[in-house]
């Protein structure tokens, strides 16, 4: 196909891209309209000016700063802790090749695919029993284990191919196992570990079911839970709803832009290995 044909293909793909991005655009333009402008002009007109009151009102009303901070604390803690656990496990399974490692890996894989509903009620019950209900620590512990199950699976495959000579050389130089792990294995596996850190952070940020169950009070809730629970409240008029949607979208886009390279690399690594 030459001439006009190739432009037709490009045009079709661009139209599809516009359709995919349309919800983002429509949320953004309506979040900065005043309610009066919205009701007279509808959702499709471009905003007359920058009306930020809807966003400010929503922010204050739900104390959005706290929600952002909660999401950040939970996601960052889970990312770091789950990576530490994954590294320890993968060291034993990938490099140490402990007995029964295949069945251990299968157990981790099954744990990762289990629906959270099959754990939710007992976890809810147990967290109440030990006084962790409605605390971020409960979500952090549970999410850490679930993410580490995936991380172990991925990282064990990567460490299985770790050059043994380096470790032998280190042990001849008198480095113990613990020292070799942190001084040699971790620095060399840095690229994979970074992918895991970023993915664990974003997955935990996006997580909905477990935070919904554990975090019921206003000062512990995360961004997705707060936005979902507030939907349909009386005070949520058209422009405030789009303001709330915009506030949920912006952090996600920020992560996407910051981590873009690692993300595209990671999506493929995570899927295939």
């Amino acid at each position: 196909m030459r001439g006009p044909g190739r432009w037709a293909v490009l045009f079709a793909l661009v139209v599809l891209a516009v359709v995919m991005l349309f919800p983002f655009a429509i949320v953004a333009i309506n979040a900065v309209k005043s309610p009066a402008e919205y009701s007279s002009q509808g959702p499709l007109s471009l905003p007359d000016g920058l009306y930020l009151q809807g966003i400010i009102d929503f922010w204050n009303r739900v104390d959005f700063g706290t929600k952002l901070w909660n999401s950040f604390v939970i996601s960052a803690s889970v990312a770091v802790l789950a990576v530490v656990l994954s590294v320890l496990n993968a060291y034993a399974l990938g490099i140490g090749r402990v007995k029964g490692r295949l069945s251990i890996l299968v157990v981790f894989l099954v744990a990762n695919t289990l629906p959270q509903e099959a754990l939710a009620y007992p976890l809810y019950y147990l967290s109440k029993a030990v006084g962790l209900y409605d605390t971020q620590l409960a979500v952090i512990i549970v999410m850490t284990v679930i993410q580490a199950a995936f991380g172990t699976y991925l990282l064990s495959a990567v460490l299985g191919q770790f050059p043994k000579e380096i470790l032998e050389a280190a042990s001849i130089d008198g480095a113990g196992r613990w020292r070799s792990l942190w001084r040699i294995v971790v620095p060399i596996s840095r690229p994979t570990i970074n992918v895991l850190l970023i993915f664990f952070f974003i997955w935990t940020w996006n997580e909905f079911f477990l935070p919904l169950i554990f975090l019921i009070s206003n000062d512990t809730q995360t961004v997705p839970v707060a936005l979902a629970v507030l939907q349909g409240e009386k005070f949520m008029d058209a422009t405030m709803s789009s303001a709330s949607a915009l506030l949920g979208v912006v952090p996600a886009i920020a992560f996407f832009l910051i981590f873009q390279r690692t993300l595209t690399r990671g999506v493929t690594v995570g899927a295939i290995k």
């Binding site: 995919m20 034993a92 695919t113 289990l114 629906p115 509903e117 009620y121 196992r177």
Partner: protein, 287 residues
């Protein structure tokens, strides 16, 4: 040598303890609860397989699995099919004629919905589909209640999920296509093969492993789907969009039928495990 390997066990201990407490014990407790009648407080009463017998007769339960099948179509099959065409068009058409930067910019645009928390994606669409002030009705000059009409609700949720999922297969397939030896395509071009024939006889067989992975992960995601249902429809109107995960949540936390909810969750877990093993078996046989 033996002692050396044994020492590595120590590194598994923290995970084994946490794993026991967070996954194994809760899972067994859930299975145990599924054999009881329990409201969440007081002592559970053992009733054997009654909950499971009740499930088999519960129309809502069967409906919820039918809706799961519909969501597998929307989240796994349709995005895989469209994703294959898009990835291949971007990779060997746009990439070659308009440059790789155009191809990767388009890929990023298709991928963007995937980065949203699925609950936030639901908030966005819930707003756009609102019957009185939503953008969708305004654009098409319609007056439909997409999420409130039992005949439209499931189809609407399916459409939203196609939008949400599409970018994932596109990214994975494009990465897979980079592995394919260009010599295949060159040879086919010399033979005068059409784009469609190359797509069918080279692209699809060559990225079969990626297709498997996408179908598996998206099917599991569709079986587990909870967030979009919670945000968009809460399983309604009536039971028009009820899915097993939301059905079990409802029994756990709103109806205080913990035993019944546990039975639903156990069945869902078993189905997911079976699906995973079936996929892995088929994949193994293929290779």
């Amino acid at each position: 040598m033996r002692v050396r390997t044994r020492g590595y066990w120590l590194y598994l201990i923290p995970s084994l303890i946490l794993f026991l407490g967070v996954i194994v014990v809760p899972f067994l407790m859930n299975v145990g609860a599924s054999f009881t009648r329990w409201s969440g407080v007081g002592t559970p009463r053992w009733i054997g397989f009654d909950n499971y017998a009740r499930l088999l007769k519960d129309e809502r339960f069967w409906q919820s699995f039918q809706h799961n099948v519909a969501l597998i179509v929307a989240m796994a099959i349709v995005p895989t099919a469209i994703g294959l065409v898009l990835a291949s068009a971007l990779f060997d058409y746009i990439g070659k004629r308009f440059g790789p930067r155009t191809a990767s910019a388009l890929r990023a645009m298709y991928y963007l919905p995937q980065i949203l928390p699925v609950a936030v994606a639901g908030v966005v669409w819930g707003w756009m589909l609102h019957p009185s002030y939503g953008a969708v009705n305004q654009i098409f000059g319609l007056d439909l209640d997409y999420l409130g009409d039992p005949d439209l609700a499931l189809a609407t949720v399916m459409a939203v999920m196609v939008w949400f999922q599409l970018g994932y297969p596109v990214v994975i397939f494009m990465a897979g296509l980079q592995r394919v030896d260009p010599a295949y395509y060159e040879a086919a071009e010399i033979d005068g093969a059409s784009w469609w024939r190359k797509f069918w006889h080279i692209t699809i067989p060559q990225i079969r492993p990626e297709i498997f992975v996408v179908l598996l992960t998206c099917t599991i995601a569709a079986l587990k789907v909870f967030g979009p249902i919670f945000v968009l429809t809460r399983g309604g109107p009536g039971n028009a969009t009820m899915v097993p995960s939301y059905f079990s949540y409802l029994n756990f936390f709103q109806k205080s039928n913990v035993g019944y909810g546990a039975a639903i969750a156990t069945v869902l877990a078993l189905i997911i495990i079976v699906v995973t093993f079936l996929f892995l078996r088929v994949q193994e046989r293929e290779q």
